[in-house]
């Protein structure tokens, strides 16, 4: 299916068949994004649902600058961020590491892990860490952009990423130790 101007026009006219066709085309990719940001499968379903409703309802906001898929992806990411915004206001429940340890993570250890195993490690991260990690490491946003998106300072974004990375490395080390024992 080709997503061209005519296709987007049909979407803007709320044509149901076009909406379904578009959903069928990009939902798998967007669900992958939701799974990364959510801390459970149910939350990912909710984020995908809410995100696509936003896309279809506010499609007139797309002005044709940049790729349409990029705009949809950004909308889904924003939905995911907002989804956990309330929880963020109540405060993260985080076991803080006061003493920074060095965990040595080999590249091969990560390579060996399946997507699901990696996803499970990322999901274990507190919401704030996970969001910054996803935005910076996977989606390639800068700390300045992340700061603007999440309403935090650049330094906080860096700090969250540093802690996220530490938590991932710690988890990988634990997995490795467990494997060695077995």
């Amino acid at each position: 299916m080709k997503i061209d101007k005519a296709f987007i026009n049909k979407l803007q006219k709320r044509d149901k068949k076009t909406q379904q066709s578009f959903y069928d085309t990009v939902s798998a990719k967007m669900y992958g994004v939701c799974l990364r940001f959510a801390n459970s499968g149910d939350d990912a379903n909710d984020i995908l649902q809410e995100g696509f409703i936003r896309v279809f309802r506010h499609i007139d906001a797309y002005r044709g600058d940049g790729s349409f898929e990029g705009w949809v992806r950004r909308t889904i990411v924003n939905t995911a961020i907002n989804y956990y915004e309330k929880e963020k206001k109540r405060g993260y429940k985080v076991d803080l590491e006061y003493v920074k340890k060095d965990y040595v993570t080999s590249e091969s250890a990560i390579e060996k892990l399946s997507f699901n195993e990696l996803l499970a490690i990322i999901r274990e991260l507190p919401n704030g860490y996970r969001t910054v990690f996803n935005l910076n490491v996977i989606d390639g946003y800068t700390h300045k952009e992340i700061g603007a998106m999440l309403g935090i300072s650049e330094n906080t974004s860096k700090s969250q990423l540093s802690r996220a990375r530490l938590a991932i490395q710690k988890r990988l080390s634990e997995i490795k130790e467990k494997e060695n024992l077995e």
């Binding site: 939902s27 995908l48 279809f56 993260y92 590249e107 990560i110 540093s162």
Partner: protein, 445 residues
Amino acid sequence: MNNNDKHINDILRRKFQGFEVTPPPEVWENIEKELDKPSFFSSKSGYITIIALLILIVPLSYFGTDNTSKHKTFNAQMAQLNVARNAIGVSAVDEKGVSTEEYVKPANGAKNIGQALEITETYKSRGNAIAVVIAKSVDSEESRSQIEVVENKGDATINKFIDLKQGFDISKPSQMLPLRSLSLSNTSIDLSDLPLAFDDEILKTLSESQKKKTFWEYSILLSPEFSLNDMDSVRALNSISAGLEPTKYLNKHWFVRSGINISFTGDKGFAKVDYISNDLMGTYDDVYDVTFDTAGGVVTPVYHTKTVEVWDSVRHIKVSEVTNRYLYAQVPVLLGYKSAVGNFNIYLFAGPAVGFQLAKWIDTPLSNSEGLEIINLDNRLPVRSNVNFQLWIGGGLEYNISKRYSLVMEPAFKHYFKSLYSDSEYKINTSGFALRFGVNIKIGK
């Protein structure tokens, strides 16, 4: 970020970026259902907006109907007039070759009497045949109405213009009653005496309820409200409201008033915040290795360092002041009694009111400080209920600046029956004192 981190990032990015998972089918079903719903009506605020609009529109439309009903009554009377005339045979007129234009012609002829007349209504009959034209003088400040009677005798048309008594208002249906009865009773009556009989005839035909003067008044009011209660650590802030309240006067003294007031209010209290500031405190060079070079028999140590960032990750506890703000729509239903004293009116009113929460802004402590990570937030400020019930008792002083407009000042006491707060720890009935200022606009008096 060291090289190892960079490589790990690249691997993770590569692994995740192209990943696709087919979502469960129920997600699309839910999206379809949501898209089919009208979004406005699915929200609470949508319903509240509709209720608020209805509260505003219903009295307005009632007022609109009041005007329309005058026209309806007026037209109904004229319809009767036409029916009566038809009974005596408009068709017969046509058979005689007297066209409609000829009946309208006398109305144009009205201008011949030296006045510019605005023709407001034209009625045809046969009187030996009668046409009645009601015209109103437009070139004089004095309102002057005329009835034109056309008698059609054979081929000759006789026009009679009868000036109606001063003060006669054709827009008042009650004043048309004598005209109707005259028209119905005798088609060849000499109408020249008509104005003289008007007043008595009007009074005879009016019912008791028609004689009562009922009218609408619209009050536009601004009001600061001062809270009379404080609870422990919670301080109810003074509020400000603006409203439109239509008043229906049942008679000269008694009135019923309702409407809508939009009130902006709030509470001040405290919250305990447990947070990490995440401030970058500084950096230092950490020696992770030392090697030794020997040059010219001298051993020189080489320190290998890496820069370490130091972040403030210590938990802080702070008691912070918080302010929650709310927007309510208040709908009172008040019964009042008014009495005139010279150019002033004084009145008393009382009745229940209900408040619907339209919006709320719950304060987040330290929200202005960037980069804070709140570990635990214990907000001790209770949140207000979505609905509250009040009793209003008040009085008013009204100064008439013209027949239509007056200035008002209304001190009022408001008692909240139900606790303002949903939190069971704060079950207390609060009160407030409001001073309402505004303008009354009388319509239909």
